[in-house]
Amino acid sequence: MTGCKKYHELINLAVDGEISAHDEKQLNAHLLACPECSSLLDVFKRISAELSDMQVEPPQGLVSGVMREIRRQTKRKGNRLAVFGRVAASFAAVVIMVIAANRVLPIKDMQEAAGYNAVVVLNKVDPHPRLEVFNTPAFNYAEKIDIDVKKETDDGALEESIPIPEQRKEEEEVPPVIPEGAGQEHDVEGIGNMKVDEAAVSTTSQITEPTETPKSSYSSSSKFGIDLRAKDIWAANSFSKAYYCVAVINDTSAGELSGYEQLSKSDSEIYYKVPVEIIEEFQRNKSLTEIMYNNNKAEYGIVIMKIN
């Protein structure tokens, strides 16, 4: 009975309350003459009634379970940068000091820096001074940095440092870095860690999935017009200035260097820490390019091996 096909559609609409008045009249007329369709409509209505009746209340604890999990996941991703150090009483003073000193803080030894999550360097860049934050190997690059820094109070007491991220469990000693007192020129050695005015930094806690490849820079801006930029420590000028030189071996067929400490490794290059005498040897028998001499007194230099 192919004639019924058009009425099947109408039956469907009727069950769902979507049938027009006109179509309903047509359908009813047909139903009087067609027991099959009549029966189909009844069956459909019965099924529909049973199904709509089958709604249940969700179990207790669904909502709280969801919220608990969301909070748990949020907390885990809100990684914070641990910034240590004792500084002058005010941010402005620190800025002045760095300007006056006109030096970027050198880092003496990578080993020392590696023990910290990051190194923070104040760089004066007209007209916007810049806080540069450098990730150290102890830090997971893929995590978004949530920067929260503390201020030293006026009576010289040090505020608590920020919560330690998951990678590092043990408490760190807080080394005094910049001597107190503004306006003095200092050749500051050691790790350029400092605490800065909390208000100068905006904190964000976002959930990010670390699905992307490690970024080499993040940025977040503050309320006071100071730019914060986080980079890998290998990109830090100040970092490299602690070394004798930075040189590149451009020969990808040279293979990896063995016997030297790897400071960093990516898909395209490896950074090695190499004693100065060895670098001088390299200059004789390998193709060292892009050499930048930094610190004559350093015992080590950085050699960048390009792979790929």
């Binding site: 559609e9 029966s39 069956v43 669904l62 969801v66 919220m67």
Partner: protein, 206 residues
């Protein structure tokens, strides 16, 4: 909850007031749970899928643009999760019952092995049980539309939005889902008290 309220809550959550998401979960939990329950057929998995739906919604909240309502958006998340879940499920026994799919081909209805719940064996309970089983026997894309229509009470237009289908497709799938479910119920016994053997045969010839 109005659309405005929804958007306000979402904005506040994105600003960092995470706890406010709870209101959205509360508002939508019943329909999502029921959808999941009828799609996957058991409470434990329905619970897991419901939770996952909301957590996923939370994580993806910044990509919610507001051109559909939050409800439609979350239905979409839920149906996708249900379908993914069902595809991974391997344990099914098949009995040769035929149905007609969208391409007008005759296919076999797959009937999963379900254990009977210890309910009173009255006709009403038996009917409900049979309907639940019949639902599970439907192919997923038919089950989907029927559940959204009957359990969740969505209109044809809303269903087409959630599933990204033409309204015509929605209508024909609902029809086929109902027909196949009726066929299943007939095969299990005379639940509906109607002699529909003739219809069954004709359904196959079409």
């Amino acid at each position: 909850m109005t659309r405005e309220t929804e958007m306000q809550i979402i904005k506040r959550v994105l600003d960092g007031h995470i706890d406010e998401f709870e209101a959205l979960v509360h508002e939508n939990q019943k329909k999502i749970y029921n959808l999941a329950l009828k799609m996957v057929g058991n409470r434990e998995d329905a619970w897991d899928i419901s939770q996952e739906t909301f957590i996923k919604a939370f994580k993806a909240l910044k990509s919610f643009r507001g051109d559909s309502s939050f409800g439609v958006w979350i239905y979409r998340l839920a149906t996708n999760l249900c379908i993914d879940f069902l595809r991974k499920e391997k344990k099914r026994k098949t009995f040769p019952l035929a149905y007609i799919n969208d391409e007008k081909e005759e296919k076999e209805l797959e009937i999963p092995d379900v254990s009977m719940e210890p309910e009173a064996l009255c006709e009403q309970a038996e009917l409900k049980q049979a309907i639940s089983e019949g639902l599970k026997a439907l192919p997923e894309d038919h089950r989907q539309v029927l559940v959204l229509r009957e359990i969740n009470g969505l209109s044809y237009a809303e269903i087409s939005q959630v599933l990204n289908l033409e309204i015509g497709t929605v209508k024909s799938r609902i029809f086929r889902a109902r027909s196949n479910l009726a066929k299943y119920l007939n095969s299990k016994g005379n639940f509906l008290n109607k002699k529909t053997s003739k219809t069954t045969k004709e359904g196959r010839d079409r």
